[in-house]
């Protein structure tokens, strides 16, 4: 119990620290912090907003897991961004070309998405082991190539094949209903009232949960996960312990990319195609979420929800004019910094506390002996 409370001390500390600094920032911008928080919380207490938060947290969480797989072995896959967008486009296009029953159509789209992400991330892995190219540099370049080059070019090509296109038919061809992961309002409504305003809770949430569980099992139960962590903790000891360093780099990149490929499923299922203005930035946001959640499967659930809450709050702050919506980005930055500080303090505190307990136990023991 004590241990559990201790493990909570850091996140709680970070939270308090964030509130304090954010309040100062809000106040400095000339807004009333309490009014702003009130608006944010009031908004978030609505069922429909909660659906929005979960819809946003889902891709953030998947993206965080993708980044965390690399981080666990000190590989900085900055390329989640390019990997998911490219995978999204290819999966959408392939999905639109076939008509299949849902049990085949959905898995096909998912597999194509994962394979594309894996392939694209794998390039960086192979470059690193064969040419010694730093993965940060290669993935940044691969991001530009994907976003500015490949996606723009392919999209244009595939659009040209459409008979006629208007603004509504921009993007890839629509995918049949059978290829889209259905919303899960039904499941939620068992416990709550009906979800209004036409909001739909993405079914990809279930995929994200599976990804989180799989990531947890990978780290704690699977040999590959052990090798992955060993490589991150001490690459030389890992190598002497039989972990092939090059193969691990490629494998970790490929796995990271495969998970990244799933990020786009949320938007794909919602829009039924790769839209011309697909949501960008989820890859970079995922890195922040992974950092805040310390690459931990459970920790990243909280950080994804927190980031999603802040993102969704941007709108309401804008509407009520309680504060500028940029404040949420500032708050996301503050929470990251606060977490780093709080974790450091809590670790020291914890060690001191344990030492004190030991001393007491020993003193008691000696008292008995004397």
């Amino acid at each position: 119990m004590r241990k559990f409370l201790f493990s909570l001390s850091a996140p709680v500390g970070a939270f308090v620290l964030t509130l304090v600094i954010s309040s100062i920032a809000l106040w400095a911008f000339g807004s009333n912090p309490f009014a702003a928080y009130g608006d944010m919380l009031g908004h978030a207490s609505k069922l429909e907003t909660q659906v929005d938060i979960l819809n946003r947290a889902t891709p953030l969480y998947i993206s965080a897991v993708a980044a965390a797989i690399g981080f666990r072995m000190n590989l900085f896959n900055i390329g989640v961004e390019g990997q998911y967008l490219f995978a999204f486009l290819i999966a959408a296009q392939v999905g639109s070309l076939v008509s299949l029953p849902a049990v085949l159509h959905i898995p096909l789209i998912m597999i194509v998405a994962m394979a594309t992400g894996a392939f694209y991330a794998g390039i960086a892995g192979v470059l690193k082991v064969t040419r010694g190219v730093n993965e940060v540099i290669s993935t940044i370049m691969l991001n530009s190539i994907a976003v500015a080059g490949l996606i723009a070019w392919l999209q244009q090509r595939w659009q040209a094949e459409q008979e006629e296109f208007t603004s509504t038919t921009l993007g890839t061809n629509p995918i049949d209903e059978s290829g889209l992961i259905p919303h899960i309002n039904g499941i939620v409504e068992i416990f709550t009232r009906e979800i209004g305003q036409g909001k739909e809770l993405t079914g990809v949430l279930l995929v994200a949960i599976c990804v989180g569980v799989a990531y947890h099992l990978l780290l704690t139960r699977m040999r590959f996960g052990f090798d992955l962590r060993a490589s991150g903790l001490n690459p030389f000891a890992a190598r002497a312990g039989g972990v092939p360093p090059k193969r691990m780099i490629v494998a970790a990149m490929v796995l990271s990319g495969a998970v990244a490929g799933l990020i786009g499923l949320v938007e794909l299922s919602e829009k039924g195609k790769f839209p011309p203005n697909a949501i960008q930035g989820l890859g970079f946001a995922g890195i922040a979420v992974a950092l805040l959640g310390r690459n931990h499967p459970g920790g990243m659930v909280f950080s994804a929800l927190l980031f999603a809450f802040l993102d969704v709050s941007a709108g309401i702050l804008q509407n009520t004019e309680a504060a500028t919506k940029e404040i949420v980005n500032i708050m996301q930055g503050i929470v990251l910094l606060a977490a780093v500080v709080a974790y450091g303090i809590s670790k020291r505190f914890q060690e001191r506390e344990e030492a004190r307990e030991t001393a007491e136990a020993l003193r008691a023991e000696q008292g008995v002996m004397a």
Partner: protein, 510 residues
């Protein structure tokens, strides 16, 4: 005159252990003071406190009679205290001079480093204390003994008059130890005070003026070095007799365990680092390799475990050709490995002991299999290692960095021996282990040998090498230059072969 150092009632607690328990220590000015004690007795902790790396929980420290409180090593350096850690902290890619002045650069206006001034200062320090070193040498080209000298000069350069040396002789061969002791005597002549930690009792007796013995974090004795014997010291430290490594009757069999034939390994510049090496180790045999560090021993080890590519020749283990197998396949085939540097290749310092125990054996029972890890197997096996190899730790969930140096070493030996290897590569297996535990480790290696283990033993401790080995080969500049019988050779002879002063007509090594 006030003593150089006076520590009173120093207490330091870590989770689950009291590392220093009300320790008193007085070191007179101008003396060489040895600190002895079993693994985990609290020696390094006490020194880190004195050097300002860790604050004590209780107690006071006086330097030259003044009460001091150190917030960081910088404060200690300002008070004239310097420390050379057991693991050197030099930058390989810099010259000796650059390493020495790093962090204490004399700068002119505008931040330009005044190299000539630094060099003059360095020359003066070296001259004063009789330490010879070329300031323009690259550190990566230096031998261990020379690196250590650079560390010492680095400390003196900052004006230290009180030197702390944590297990300085652990990495040195006897000739280098002699040179170090010579330097220490000169430093003493020059007025310096030296505190040093050592597990080798004869060395302690040879060089020190006073000796303090720690046990379970407490001072058990502090005395001048006259009339003290190694026997007394061992008794005080661990309460047992002084062990000597002596091989019982030969258990060497006819079956070949490891067969290395004409192996050559080249470095990045395609120069051979080991050349045309052939040797055989039979089951039940311990083959010792003698040599000054840097003469190809680590490359030979790398070639056997598979972290270095073999350019020519072949290696087989119990008849299985392993020349081109991956490290993992080789380890699964039964190669156990005790690396020379436990922090570099041995441990994941930030992982708990029970994960460290699995490293290198994660694909095998009881730790795991091809796909899955077995957590309860990992934990129970670690408990076994902890008990059988006497790894002193509050529990197996602490991370490896919380263990004392010697206990880290015991964990590694335990992990390799309990995996029941057919070949054990042991580089300095008892480095940093106290006399009591050393005897236990030798016993365990001998037991495994009796059960058919082939062992490749590399050790800077020539008594260990002679005492344990069934036969000894000498490596010099990447070649085998002599083959000797341990019962006919003395450490002195061995030293002569190692430096090339003595040679054998033919090093017939089969």
């Amino acid at each position: 005159m006030a003593p150089a150092i006076e520590l009173t009632g120093i207490t330091k607690r870590f989770p689950g252990v009291v590392a220093n328990d009300n320790i008193n220590l007085t070191v007179e000015k101008g003396e060489i003071h040895a600190i002895c004690g079993e693994n985990g007795a609290g020696k390094s902790t006490l020194m880190k406190i004195l050097y300002g790396m860790q604050p004590p929980d209780e107690g006071t420290m006086k330097v030259h009679g003044d009460v001091v409180e150190f917030g960081s090593p910088t404060d200690a350096i300002d008070r004239g205290i310097g420390m050379v850690h057991q693991h050197f902290m030099l930058a390989d890619q810099l010259t000796v001079l650059e390493n020495v002045i790093l962090g204490a650069e004399p700068t002119a206006a505008g931040g330009v480093i005044k190299f000539s001034e630094a060099e003059a200062h360095l020359a003066r320090v070296a001259e004063d204390y009789g330490l010879t070193i070329d300031p323009d040498d690259m550190v990566e080209t230096l031998e261990v003994g020379e690196r250590q000298r650079v560390e010492i000069i680095k400390v003196l350069y900052r004006g230290a008059e009180i030197l702390i040396l944590d297990e300085p002789t652990a990495v040195l061969v006897p000739q280098e130890v002699e040179a170090l002791f010579e330097n220490m005597r000169e430093l003493k002549e020059g007025g310096a005070t030296i505190i040093f930690i050592d597990h080798k009792l004869d060395e302690v007796l040879e060089i020190s003026d006073s000796i303090t013995v720690l046990r379970h974090g407490k001072t058990v004795a502090s005395m001048p070095n006259d009339g003290v014997t190694a026997h007394d010291l061992a008794e005080l430290m661990v309460g047992s007799e002084l062990p000597t490594p002596e091989t019982a009757e030969s258990t060497v069999t006819e079956r070949v365990g490891l067969d290395i034939s004409a192996v050559t390994v080249v470095d990045d510049d395609r120069r051979p680092v080991i050349e045309n090496i052939s040797l055989r180790i039979h089951e039940g045999e311990i083959l010792g390799i003698a040599g000054v560090e840097g003469n190809g021993q680590s490359e030979l080890v790398d070639a056997i475990i598979g972290t270095a590519a073999v350019t020519a020749g072949s290696i087989s283990l119990q008849g299985l050709d392993i020349t081109n197998l991956s490290v993992r396949k080789r380890r699964e085939a039964g190669i156990g490995y005790v690396p020379e540097d436990r922090h570099h290749e041995g441990l994941m310092l930030d992982a708990p002991l029970w994960e460290n125990a699995a490293l290198g054996h994660q694909t095998q029972a009881p730790y795991g299999s091809r796909w899955l890890m077995n957590r309860s197997g990992m934990r129970s096996q670690t408990e076994t290692i902890k008990d059988e190899f006497d790894v002193r730790t509050p529990n197996i969930d602490v991370s490896a960095h919380a263990l004392s140096g010697g206990n880290q070493q015991k964990l590694i030996i335990g992990r390799e021996l309990t995996a029941d290897p057919s070949l054990l590569i042991a580089a300095h297996p008892t480095r940093g282990i106290d006399v009591g535990a050393q005897a236990a480790v030798w016993e365990q290696i001998r037991d495994a040998r009796a059960a058919g283990l082939a062992t490749l033993l590399i050790s800077a401790d020539l008594d260990e090498l002679i005492g344990l080995s069934d036969s000894i080969v000498v490596m010099l500049r990447g070649r085998l230059v002599a083959r000797l019988q341990p019962d006919e050779v003395t450490p002195r002879d061995l030293g002569a072969y190692m430096t090339g002063a003595a040679t054998q007509e033919t090093a017939e090594v089969h």
